[in-house]
Each structure stands twice: as structure tokens, then as C-alpha cells.
């Protein structure tokens, strides 16, 4: 039995090794004096300073942040309103809308990418930040709706009626009753939208234009022409930021649980 347990732990360890190996490699090489990412020759922080003079990479990073923030904001608002609306109201064609909303979730990303590209071409829209943001909104909204709907389905909406009965108007009920109630769904939907947008390669590949290179696209072209370790340095910094955000959010969660227990 004990041996069984060891084998299980070893299996878990191997899977984690597989998941983390490429990332750890990149982090190690970000401190390497050689620029070739082949052998570790010596420790340096040079790539971290060089990163801040790599204007193409920084511009791509800025574009990525703009696209992700704007598309997450818009899709969170539309998606949350939609989830509430689809939950509360019945209307002609609701079935069709519900079905359409699953399409971006299930079809291969490349199909969504080329169909949006075709439509932009048909409408003679120039590919750029605009089309990129619209495309990211297009694939994010359904994920927000699903996240919010999951919370709505487990919510007791008699509170809303009670608020109405106590004289709260529509707007007040919305901001003081509905929104706080579904906040967990909105937050997880927004997080999901933001992560998907930050990492998107396929749809951006078809819908970005000159001057709207995102970080994934920039890295894609760099991998083909040769990557310098300042990209490793950027990755390392991004991982550090993600770890800090995750730690803060879990600390908040722990404090909340403790508060509720008291």
C-alpha cells in the first residue's frame, strides 16, 4: 500500500515536471550570458535591461495589453447583461440566440478567425487594432455569459422581488442587489476572457494588421527568425506577475473564509 502511494506521487511529479519543464528552461536561460539558448555559460541580468530597449517587443506587449483590457471590458459588460437578460426574459428567437452563443466556444478557433477575416474583407475594413479588438470581443462574450449564468442558476431571485417590494427602483435593484449577487461569475468570466485574449494566437493571426502586432504574433515571427533571451526575460517577468496575482487572490480567499468562520 505504501509503495502504491509512492508510485502515485511519482506519477503526479512526472506530470508536473512535463508541465513546467519548458517554462523552467526559459527562466534559466533568461539569466544566461550566451545569446543562443543552447548551453548555460554564466549568470547575467543583461537581458532584463536589454528587454527595455527592444522596442518591437515592448510595442507588441503594449498592443496586447490594450486589446486584452478593452476586449475584456466590453465583453464582460455585454456578457453579464446578456446572461441576466437571457435568464430573466423570454422572447422570440431566444432558442436561436442561445444556440449561436455556443458556436465560438465549440468550433475550431481557426474557423472563427477566417470567417471574421472574410467579413472584414467584405466590409472593406482595414485590419488593425480595431478588427483585432472586435475579434477578441467576439470570442470572449460566450465565456462570460456561461460564467455568469452558472452563478445565476444557483441564485435565489426572490431577493430581487423583495428589493422591488421594499421600493427599490430598477436601477437600484440592479446595482445593489443583482450585481453583488452575481459578482463571482462576473469576475471569473472576466478573468477567463482576459486570459484567452492575452494568449490568443490563432484568431489574432488572421485579424491583426500592420501596426497591431500582439505579443503572441511578435513571438511567432521571432521564433521563425531567431529568438533572443530578452524574450525569456519577458516571460520570466510575466510568470512572476501571474504568481503574485494568484498569491494575492488566494490570500484574499483565505481571509474571507476565516472572516466567515468567525
Amino acid at each position: 500500500m505504501q509503495r502504491h502511494k509512492h508510485l502515485k506521487n511519482i506519477f503526479i511529479l512526472i506530470v508536473f515536471l512535463f508541465l513546467y519543464l519548458p517554462i523552467i528552461t526559459l527562466i534559466i536561460f533568461s539569466f544566461n550570458t550566451s545569446s543562443l539558448n543552447i548551453v548555460f555559460e554564466g549568470f547575467t541580468l543583461d537581458w532584463y535591461t536589454k528587454l527595455f530597449s527592444n522596442s518591437a517587443l515592448l510595442e507588441a506587449l503594449l498592443n496586447t495589453i490594450i486589446v486584452s483590457v478593452v476586449s475584456t471590458g466590453v465583453s464582460t459588460i455585454i456578457g453579464s447583461l446578456a446572461a441576466i437578460g437571457l435568464y430573466k426574459f423570454n422572447f422570440w428567437g431566444k432558442e436561436l440566440i442561445n444556440k449561436l452563443l455556443y458556436i465560438p466556444v465549440v468550433i475550431p478557433e481557426i474557423v472563427l478567425g477566417i470567417s471574421l477575416l472574410s467579413v472584414y474583407t467584405l466590409l472593406k475594413l482595414d485590419l488593425g487594432m480595431g478588427t483585432l479588438i472586435i475579434s477578441h470581443i467576439a470570442f470572449s462574450i460566450p465565456f462570460v455569459i456561461i460564467s455568469v449564468r452558472t452563478v445565476l442558476n444557483s441564485t435565489n431571485f426572490q431577493i430581487e422581488e423583495a428589493a422591488h417590494d421594499l421600493g427599490a427602483n430598477e436601477l437600484k435593484t440592479f446595482f445593489y442587489v443583482i450585481i453583488p449577487e452575481i459578482m463571482p461569475g462576473i469576475i471569473s468570466g472576466a478573468t477567463l476572457a482576459f486570459t484567452l485574449s492575452l494568449d490568443d494566437v490563432i484568431i489574432s493571426y488572421f485579424t491583426a494588421g500592420p501596426g497591431s502586432n500582439t505579443l503572441p504574433l511578435q513571438i511567432y515571427s521571432m521564433i521563425k527568425t531567431g529568438i533572443t533571451p530578452d524574450v525569456n526575460a519577458l516571460t520570466t517577468l510575466m510568470i512572476v506577475v501571474i504568481m503574485i496575482v494568484l498569491m494575492i487572490s488566494s490570500l484574499i480567499q483565505i481571509r474571507k473564509i476565516k472572516k466567515e468562520a468567525m
Binding site: 517554462i23 536561460f29 456578457g79 467576439a138 490563432i202 513571438i219
Partner: protein, 284 residues
Amino acid sequence: MNKNSKSKYIYLSPVIIYAIVLILFPIIYILFLSFQTSDNYGGIIYSLTLNNYLKIFDIVYLRVLYKSACIAIITTFICILIAYPFSIFISEKKANTQKILITLVMIPFLTNSLIRTYGWIVLLRKEGVFNSVLRSLNLIDNPISFMYNNLGVFIGLVYTLLPFMILPVYSSVSKIDKKVLEAAEDLGANSYQKFMKVILPQTLPGIFNGSLMVFIPAIGMFFIADLLGGGKIMLIGNLIKNQFLVSRNWPFGAAISIFLIVITFILVKFYKKSGGNMDDLGGF
């Protein structure tokens, strides 16, 4: 009534416009494109033809479709083989440990997928980390080709898609009531019976869910085939990409896309028939 319909309008009009303009219309438009003829310069000659669909059944393209489907199926199986025991072993840990381990599964996937693919290139290429370690241990004389072949594509696809299998499978495994397992033991079930009669049936929806989330992207991830397959391996995604950006035969690319949509819908129908919940596909 009036007030109610006004708020209904605020809640619903953005999503209705969105669903029609950014989902329905683009799909109808590529359906329309798929019946047109390309002038080979990126232009479209308006016609009504089934040629693009017939072309899919050309042996050259059938081979690509067949190979891409095989790669996606094998990738899905490897992901199940890793994710299933992994999820069961993790679900045997304490609740807090489980939470930490699942978060640890998520962290790599919050970083850029291309960057992680590049990490694999650094490890796998001829002068890469694996080969130099093996050589310094005197285990090999000539470098092993880990990439620019099928192996590289499998490593890339399994790596990128594994969490999409782990999360739904883990969530179905962790929902199994421990008391039911104890009851099965009390009634004299051995480990094999316990697995076949209790664990497997309850985790099948999770496996179906994960398989859908792995198989469908595995057909389309052209950048993995490009970078780790060295352009030698064509997925359906590469084929579509080439029709749109290289050979500029949009109608043919559109026809393959419609073909993929039909396949996706069939798979989703099966998923729903087996009791799968659509919202589980988009919730992580």
C-alpha cells in the same frame, strides 16, 4: 409593461446584435463563399458550384484530413491516459492540497502558449538541452530528432491541450461520493469492479467533455505543426491557413471550414446525447 420592455431591450439588444453580426453573419458568409470559385489571385468569381466540396475528397486533401484526424485522436487518447490517473491520484489528497495542485496545473497555461512552445524547441532541437545532456552522459553519439517530425507535434499538442482534459476529468472524479465507494467495498467489490461499476460510469461525462476540448483544437493548431513539425506535418488548420494566406483560394478554404463546422456539430450532438452539459464546455 413599458418599463419592463425597456430594461429587456437594454439587457438583450447588445447580445442579439453581437450574435447576429459576429457569429451568424460570418458563418453564413463563409457558407456562401464555399460555393464560389476562386480566380487564383485572391478574388472571387460569383458562381454556384460544389467543386470546392468535391475537391476535399481529392486524394491529396483526403490524406491531410486523415492524418490530421489520426493525430487529433491519438493526442486525445494520450491526454486521457495522463489526465485520468493524474486526476484520481490528486483527488485522493487532502482538500487543500488538491486546490493547490490544480492551481499549479493552471499556472503554466496563463503564460503565452507560443512561448511555451518555444521552450520545447529549446529542449528538443538537435543542439537542444535534451541532446546535450544525453551526449554529455555518453548515452548517444548522434543527436536524436525529437522534433520536426510526428513526435514533436505530439509533444506540442499534448502539452498545450492537457489541462483541457485534466480540468473536466478532475472535476468529475472529485464529485464521486466517497460513501458510494465505501458501500461498494462493503458489498464485496474488488478494485476492478469498483472502477468499472462505480468510478468509470460517473467520470465518463468528464472524459467526453475533455475529449471534445482536446480533439477539436488539435485539428486546428497550425502553429504547433509549423514550429515543432517543421512544416512537414499538415493539420487541417494548416490547410485552411494556406488556402487563405498562401494560395489565396478562399472558397476552398471556406469549404474546408464548413466541413469542420459540420464535424464539430456532430461531435457536440453526441456529447449532448451522452448527457453532457453545454455550459461545461466553456466553464473552466
